[in-house]
Symmetry: C2
Subunit: 323 residues, 2 copies
Amino acid sequence: MRVLVTGAAGFIGSHMVDRLLAAGNSVIGFDNLSTGQIRFLQAALANSKFVLHEGELLDRPTLTQAMQGIDLVVHLAANADVRFGTQHPRKDLDQNAIATWNVLETMREQGCRRIAFSSTGSIYGEPEVFPTPETCPFPIQTSLYGASKLAAEGLIQAYCEGFGMQACIFRFVSILGERYSHGHVFDFWQQLSAHPGHLRVLGDGHQKKSYLYVQDCIDAILLALDRIDNNRNGKNVNIFNLGTDEYCEVNDSIGWICDYLGLHPEITYSGGIRGWVGDSPFILLDCSKMRSLGWRPKLSIREAVLATIKYISSHFEENHADR
Amino acid sequence: MRVLVTGAAGFIGSHMVDRLLAAGNSVIGFDNLSTGQIRFLQAALANSKFVLHEGELLDRPTLTQAMQGIDLVVHLAANADVRFGTQHPRKDLDQNAIATWNVLETMREQGCRRIAFSSTGSIYGEPEVFPTPETCPFPIQTSLYGASKLAAEGLIQAYCEGFGMQACIFRFVSILGERYSHGHVFDFWQQLSAHPGHLRVLGDGHQKKSYLYVQDCIDAILLALDRIDNNRNGKNVNIFNLGTDEYCEVNDSIGWICDYLGLHPEITYSGGIRGWVGDSPFILLDCSKMRSLGWRPKLSIREAVLATIKYISSHFEENHADR
């Protein structure tokens, strides 16, 4: 199969590239290298079945070149940030919604019918049902990031109905693991590198969060794509929550990180049940639909946090820290 | 109050302008006159409290000029077409989603905090719950129109959360009444004007649809805006379905129209439970939330259809018909 992976040099994208190549596929990577790292593709670039296109999804001609002969698009490129959305209110619309429309329209023009898409549990806003199923009550958006992913989902669904495409949409919790480069584990590590005796925490520390290990995430995507491709009567639109069946408090995660680093910092909290505007005080997704395909995560949240802090500690210089 | 009405020259927009002026407000109209009709604003233009800006919502500088000193935006401008979405797949994204972002961002820049928005029951796709409440299970989009309105809703909600705005979002059924200029009543009238003995119907004629009379729609919007403005603890995001508590089949509507015109055409059906891709076979919204504010529609669906065919018959020349 010939697969286009957008966001190929990113945290999740580069793992996806590696796994698709390992399974014998031809992989076309697409990335603007704004946050992606070419070093994540070191192994892939040595493989003759991999080609990287450096470009913007908002640049249709470049995208059209990359879309030649593609059987499946794994669309992972995104502005994957909730917290700073209000500082650049157009970015999510451009990078997530309009970019996805460009992917869809280019697929349509080039005759590619299948797409996998990384959506987010953030589109549930602040749900009232826990664990939150894919069919929970119609949510209200609380972040520009969530709104832009919702817009992208809607466009994908409408293209499936209007143009006979087939989509697997995955609503992720936060993903952890090797090549992780932004999020709470990174923030805490940066702070503790700069001043090991003190940690500032946004919110009250009791925010309840779910996380998933990156290889468990990839396992789920590849399994769902395989099952739905082999089911010729499959629905056009297939939506799966992806997460663990557990959650932790931010304070739990801090404890695991500090234990690993052998630190006992004084902790101060900014207070409030949300860390920032659009933060969700409680994320726990009902992943029984994905589990019904036979998938289950191999790592617990604690194990995923530890894999992440281990990776960060060994791959980043302490002088990257924000002093 | 100084109110900006987008889509001011349109079917619903021009009625909104008239009603806002009648209530003593200053009204700034904004319209690109692509489908709006300047003649709908004849009375308004004679009122010193009305100003019309002709411009595109995608043109931020023009929009910024119109947004000066505005207390409330009633955002009705849209590409309000489901059926032809697949013929121009970018139009809904531009006219509904990106245009709404421009409205929101210009509001933010100019310090306007309140917005009323015309969303649509089409964002429920093909729901499984009837009548369909605002909190029905998270729907899947079946049209580019619905997807673009969903995107606009999400952006509005995120701006409310992120920037302290307040929104009333109205999910309309199809609206009927004076100044109506596209939709099934118009299509049928055009056909019967061209060939009174024959009517072609898309679908099997059993599609179940809800309609609302335009003045009932305006009543609801103005009432909700009044109640929520007077409730200082009101939510940031307030969503209301707007429709009648009844539905009719397309065949019922045909019967009322033919009775009015005194015609007995031979009817042929294209067949299928949907008239076109993205058509919803059954629309019936649960409007109890809006009714709880004291609103109820004054006209039944049959009365609204008759008001519409009466208006069309007396305002359009038969040679407009599609022969």
